[in-house]
Subunit: 412 residues, 2 copies
């Protein structure tokens, strides 16, 4: 495995993790833009734009795009998060050039009025469907309150209002500002011809916007408290908690993931044995969400309404005990083994390595190879886990509970 | 990549596809038994037994099994089909011995009364849930009618009646007869120490049942016709068709998969462009189901009730046209590219190769390496595709349609 990089003036940063023994090539454009780079007025534009990218370019109709992806036998997709918009495909090595040509063409879509209106309806339906499914957008509501005026409070899908009001001009302005060569990474992994890729990508991106696209940083003021939402159609109790966390470059991020694995992994954790294995709750998990320059811990519980009160007491007791006594060497060994095994297993495919490289570059402009990541986990001590617990679970939090119509679930 | 095999008297066949460069080891027990090896009275016993396997052995309680899988960081699971029951796990190479010890122990479970009754309820709920979801068990109903008295008509989950009536003794008899060393394959792929695995597996399986466990073959008499099922709670129209197919060793199986890809793949196929891309149907697919010594083609369409009649006409027209005119060289090239790309992509992980080896061995007692499979697809001609179409889609079929309460959907 060989890491190769290229950056020339006016062209995007290009990164390749070459494995000449691989039988496939994975390619991806990682755009450093997402809902946190939006304003309330245009909330959802990153995600809407991700959809529009497949609706045609000056060189290809939407149908051409579909047919060509299909011809390449490409396993391709795209997603938008708070901080990134990613387009990727995996193909046989002989289709590297054609796949790169297609993916790169998509980065400068036509953004035509007709498709814009059609796609707006698709996204409004997506928002409605999402709000219809448990836990009914409760994570988004919790983050809205927790992050307050900070842009991380914005929803990735936007709101019915913001998507309804968005104009094509606003999307075009956003695209020009954010899909610039200075704000995009081209990543390849697997059996890739790196020199040919660089030559082709530099040429394809020659006419793209070149402006600097910075991300606004501000220390979020976190908000604590609790709220109850009543929905007549829900049978189950859903509880969500948000605690302060760490950012994506914080050295404590390894300890924090170990902590969450020991405390509230979906199998074999303290809360799993207390509540899920005993049948008292359907799901209990807590996991870290790391962002650029800040982060949080998200907790989720789903159970029968009549068990909610006791379960919440149990969760508090288990957390308080951990904050007092810390974790054992044996628990640390088990959690470390679970995390490292799962990292090794997921690192086997070029397509998975693509995301590891791309996300690492978006976050810290360099790549942390697997063996380095594994050694970071292996060097974490029980003391460090306790410190990371005090810094997060030991702080105030924001809680939201979704209950059925009689409202008795969370408070009985 | 190196294929290694071992068979000694009284011990199971052992197969390893060794890749010393892999970072993980995948292990699996492939038992050549499934719903087609049952009788009507014990229908569902294979699947029920698969559940019971995780409920404890003479050496381990159910909780021990959970904790140990968790400790190994194993990505593990099990499934039951018409013809096989499979248990597998992927671990770091240093846990090969422990993982093999655990998986092998599971193959001779305790089958205790208490767990049997608890698990019976879980499975009855699973059956009820399955019948509650569209298309409401319609595939199973269609195969029941199509295969008639042949055991391939039996449902993998069994029926509420057969599972309610099953006794622990019947399960124990089934287990002794089917989980014998002569009817099980141990498969490993990835970074495996084959010699150590053989030594350990031979020792662990020394006391297992050794009887020959044959599969009863009889040429199925296929049944054609159509039926309509009315369900008050359905909003959509669901149509299922079954045509004669080919068995898992038929040389035409490559042509048949290419045919289905050209005609009715879920992207970029003739029926996709006619019905799905145009928004007239939500899903239209046709795919081959290959079994030991026989097979079928399954078709599925889901759409709004008011579109069902026209859509069915379109499907018939597109099939008749293909039977008349065959496919084009260009379509064959595209379909071949899609299939081979997807095979290469899925062959990248040791855990995926485990299934390729295991399924191939269950079917034909040898392994067809990826490059052989690819060359089989690449050598198929347009003429062969037309022949395979005439042998399947050109024959009579069995059709079932699920419609809403007014009953007008399929017949208006």
């Amino acid at each position: 495995m060989e890491l190769l990089t290229h950056k020339s003036a006016g062209s995007p940063q290009i990164i390749g993790l070459r494995d000449p023994a691989a039988l496939t090539t994975s390619l991806g454009w990682f755009v450093k833009t997402g809902s946190r780079d939006e304003t309330v007025e245009v909330a959802g534009v990153s995600h809407f734009l991700e959809h529009m990218v497949f609706k045609g370019t000056p060189r290809r109709s939407a149908e051409d795009v579909n047919r060509e992806l299909d011809f390449l036998g490409a396993q391709s997709n795209a997603f938008t998060s708070e901080e990134s918009t990613v387009f990727y495909a995996s193909v046989l090595p002989e289709y590297q050039d054609q796949c790169l040509d297609l993916l790169s063409d998509l980065m400068q879509p036509s953004l035509r009025e007709g498709e814009f209106e059609t796609e707006r309806q698709v996204i409004l339906e997506e928002i409605a469907m999402y709000d219809d499914q448990p836990p009914y957008g409760a994570f988004e509501i919790a983050l809205e309150h927790f992050f307050g005026a900070h842009p991380l409070s914005l929803r990735v899908l936007g709101t019915t209002e913001s998507v309804s009001d968005l104009t094509l001009d606003q999307m075009k302005q956003y695209h020009t500002a954010r899909y610039s060569t200075e704000n995009m990474y081209l990543v390849a992994s697997g059996n890739v011809d790196f020199d040919r890729m660089v030559e082709q990508a530099v040429s394809l991106s020659a006419s793209w916007p070149k402006s600097e696209a910075s991300r606004k940083f501000s220390k979020p003021r976190m908000h604590f408290g609790e709220m109850t939402i009543t929905r007549e159609d829900t049978q189950q109790y859903y509880g969500i908690s948000v605690w302060p966390g760490v950012d994506c470059n914080d050295p404590q991020r390894y300890a924090l993931r170990l902590l969450c694995t020991i405390l509230a992994d979906d199998s074999g954790s303290r809360l799993f044995w207390e509540l899920v294995d005993t049948g008292r709750a359907e799901t209990v998990t807590i996991w870290p969400q790391v962002f650029d320059e800040c982060g949080c811990l998200l907790g989720y519980m789903c159970c029968a309404p009549e068990d909610a009160r006791d379960n919440n007491k149990t969760i508090n007791r288990v957390i308080q005990q951990l904050l007092q006594e810390g974790v054992t060497e044996r628990e640390l060994e088990l959690a470390c083994n679970k995390i490292t095994s799962s990292l090794v297993l997921s690192d086997e495919r070029p397509s998975s390595r693509l995301f590891a490289v791309g996300q690492s570059w978006l976050c810290r402009q360099h790549y942390e190879p697997l063996d380095v990541v594994l050694s970071r986990y292996e060097s974490v001590t029980c003391d460090e886990i306790l410190q990371s617990a005090q810094k997060t679970l030991g702080q105030s939090n924001f809680q939201i509970r979704i209950v059925g119509e009689n409202g008795s679930a969370g408070t009985s």
